[in-house]
Symmetry: C2
Subunit: 134 residues, 2 copies
């Protein structure tokens, strides 16, 4: 059911370490290709809402039967979007009896957040702070 997910998650603590992240050093092409796949998965309103519904669920899991009726889209379309989110490593799922449940993989969102976070204590001598007097 799931065998070709992206390998952008931790594990390879050598190629990109844990937190150099996009804003501090020029991304090499391989890293850019992998990262772009994840961001592309987030680049659709339906998938963003799906992810949000899954992530904000109290129990941590959502049944597909609760997701599908929230959209004006066909059931195959929702299934397609869930598949893309899963291939991006953002969620995972499990069949339990008749129903299939999805949950968030917080490792990926954590990784994206840290990638987008600039180093806190940068000297930052440039233009941005030129007008502040206090």
């Amino acid at each position: 059911m799931s065998n070709q997910e992206l390998v952008v998650l931790g594990r390879n603590d050598e190629t990109d370490a844990c937190c150099p992240g996009l804003l501090t050093a020029p991304l090499d092409e391989d890293q850019a290709v992998e990262l772009a796949k994840v961001f592309k998965a987030l680049g659709d309103p339906v998938r963003l809402r799906l992810l949000s519904m899954i992530a904000s669920r109290a129990g941590g899991e959502v049944c597909v039967c609760d997701l599908t009726p929230a959209f004006d889209l066909s059931q195959p379309t929702i299934s397609h979007h869930l598949k893309l989110l899963r291939q991006a490593g953002l969620i995972d799922c499990e069949r339990r009896g008749t129903w299939v449940y999805y949950w968030l993989l917080p490792e990926m969102t954590d990784r994206l957040a840290s990638i987008l976070t600039r180093p806190a204590a940068e000297p930052l001598p440039d233009r941005a702070a030129t007008a502040t007097a206090s």
Copy 2:
């Protein structure tokens, strides 16, 4: 030069406040549409590398003439990608004499990072305690 950028940046501290963010409450459709535009802009390896090169630049600015030769792509293509990043509110630019300089708008990346950050100290009673269904 720049007049139709997205309005996802702060400013409207009422519609979505400052930090509810994607993982805690179901995104409504309008928010999802706006957010998806930004993530879509990040969903391309070339644009990710461009953004990374711009953001990690010491002086805070990069001349287009330094960006274009770093890719095996035509000059119009690079210009096109820079335009998309700018329309997403991730960067801005200014012409200075013969050359055009681009710089990062950290408000947007900061916003994305906070949106992807889950609340640190959530009680997280999760699945074990929710067995009282019917």
